[in-house]
Symmetry: C2
Subunit: 309 residues, 2 copies
DNA sequence: CTGTTAGCGCTTTCAT
DNA sequence: ATGAAAGCGCTAACAG
């Protein structure tokens, strides 16, 4: 038929409220035009931003986004992996960094759909993420170059997620960078902040309450914890950066408003890139999905300064 | 067949990696076991929390969650409404408060699937949300009862979203409560903070930079803006609450850490309740979906105190 | 190049 | 009770 007839028919059809049944076409083609996003949390900054990034790419290509949240209720993990994720439900999957069980990883590979990890290395996966070691090193060096010698650390160690490498990498980078500069950290200056503001507040309280010498700077493995540290410092009248320098990692949306010096990364772009690769792969460009190192940069704002004592 | 045979077969089937094709069963039954969440943003506190709440209910009932993000790219709105949302793609929809065009609302009703709004009144919809007027009134009264007479307002007026009633309700409640107490607001003490931290910072800067008398308290229509106001105050050395009281609405996850006095609401519970009603409705309990007023309460923390001058 | 037909893998109804 | 068969609404391969 002629292109204009085609147009006319399509127009009439849609006017009549006709919409192709996705179930029927899915059955016939084996494609759902839906990609899944497996997330450990949906309301934490990194994850919600990454989801937005994935969504941008999907919308541009008329794909739907199915949210598979592992953070909801523990018991459902099995069902999600064995059922939801399986063939015919989604065409591809982006895995937002998290510690998956080996059996779960195996399950994912069994589905034989294109996969990509975002935000952290997952073994056996192509991934798009920053080099967490270098990012943490950059933040630590910034403190050292300002002249700080007594630096504490707030990291986020999630006991549950044994395989999640991000906190470990940031932790190791901090320690090795300190040692390389001939510094050492005091016992008790390595706190756990759970990657949350509340955790940062707790860690700071612990630090300030401890007897003896205080650090002049704190390296935080995420902005949310850094923000918590700053809030607790303010509550106690400890001036930032005059009495305490604080640096984070992420460039959380609150970081600029709070004047937080941080190593910025962009989860929106990471998610978008990952989804783009997946879509191209689905469109037949075999081998498009590959590992990509995402950019990061130090943003010096007003939470860091040379030590005053 | 016997129940045990049944079990055995099922076990073997799943061992062999068999999973029913959702497309096929969807075609046959007309059900997708998927509910959509229409969100104006995914990374703002209220929305990401509400999504989590919806997700809890869905996971408990073996439903999938399809995220339909309107915030992504403007141009796609039409496609989302005309295509994605239509029959056979999702069984029900939760609409997270936002200003939809009348034509879009009409489209939603045309799908004839169960609908429910969360977080704000949407005309023609059943909804679960707090009474925004009362919530804002409660916050304002708190300031007045502390003795404040000179109160500024930071609201979030989104020009784009003409039909979104939440900011208007909070605004009106503030003004009427002030007038009822015999107070009036200065010209220039009504700022727009866009519902973001950055907007709160800007509004506060504007307020502090203006010549003449300063307010002793600020009512913010959301915690994110209130947090921005506090950060800007701190940057300028204005002490909270001694020199400036700040109250918000929401109980954002940062509110406690920042000591922010606020009127708390719980989007997780709201989303969960909404999804539960939808699921019951789908299970045949016709009439389950109805409007519900969500609870809220004043949480007095350390950002408010009687005025010192 | 247009028009017809055979499935896709389930569910459900109808015979047996 | 169990088993056979008829679609659900598309797509893709085929014949005209």
């Amino acid at each position: 038929m002629s292109p204009q007839t085609r147009e006319r028919i399509l127009a009439i059809a849609s006017e009549m409220g006709y919409v192709a049944s996705s179930a029927a076409s899915g059955l016939a083609t084996g494609r759902t035009r839906t990609v899944g996003v497996l997330a450990p949390y949906v309301s934490r900054w990194f994850f919600s931003r990454a989801i937005e990034g994935v969504d941008i790419a999907l919308q541009e290509n008329q794909y739907n986004l199915m949210l598979i949240n592992l953070g909801g209720y523990g018991g459902n993990r099995e069902r999600l992996f064995e059922h939801t994720m399986l063939r015919k439900q989604i065409d591809a999957l982006v895995v937002l960094c998290l510690g998956l069980q080996p059996s779960e990883l195996e399950h994912l590979h069994l589905t034989e759909i294109p996969l990509v990890a975002v935000g952290g290395p997952v073994k056996g996966f192509h991934q798009v993420c920053i080099d967490d070691y270098q990012a943490a090193q950059l933040a630590t060096k910034h403190l050292i170059e300002l002249g700080h010698r007594r630096i504490a650390q707030v990291l986020g160690d999630d006991k549950d997620e044994v395989d999640f490498a991000v906190p470990k990498l940031r932790d190791r980078a901090f320690e090795e960078t300190l040692l390389a500069a001939g510094l050492r950290f005091e016992p008790g200056w390595e706190l756990n902040g759970d990657f949350t503001v509340a955790g940062g507040v707790r860690a700071a309280a612990q630090l300030f309450d401890a007897p003896g010498e205080k650090p002049t700077a704190v390296f935080c493995a995420s902005d949310e914890m850094a923000l918590g540290v700053i809030m607790e410092a303010q509550r106690r009248g400890i001036r930032v950066p005059q009495e305490l320098s604080v640096v984070g990692i992420d460039n959380h949306e609150f970081a600029e408003a709070a004047g937080l010096t941080t190593v910025a990364q962009n989860p929106v772009e990471q998610g978008r890139l990952a989804a783009d690769m997946l879509i191209k792969e689905l469109d037949g460009a075999v081998g498009t999905v590959r590992s990509v190192a995402a950019p990061f940069e130090l943003l010096v704002r007003s939470s860091t300064a040379p030590p005053s004592r």
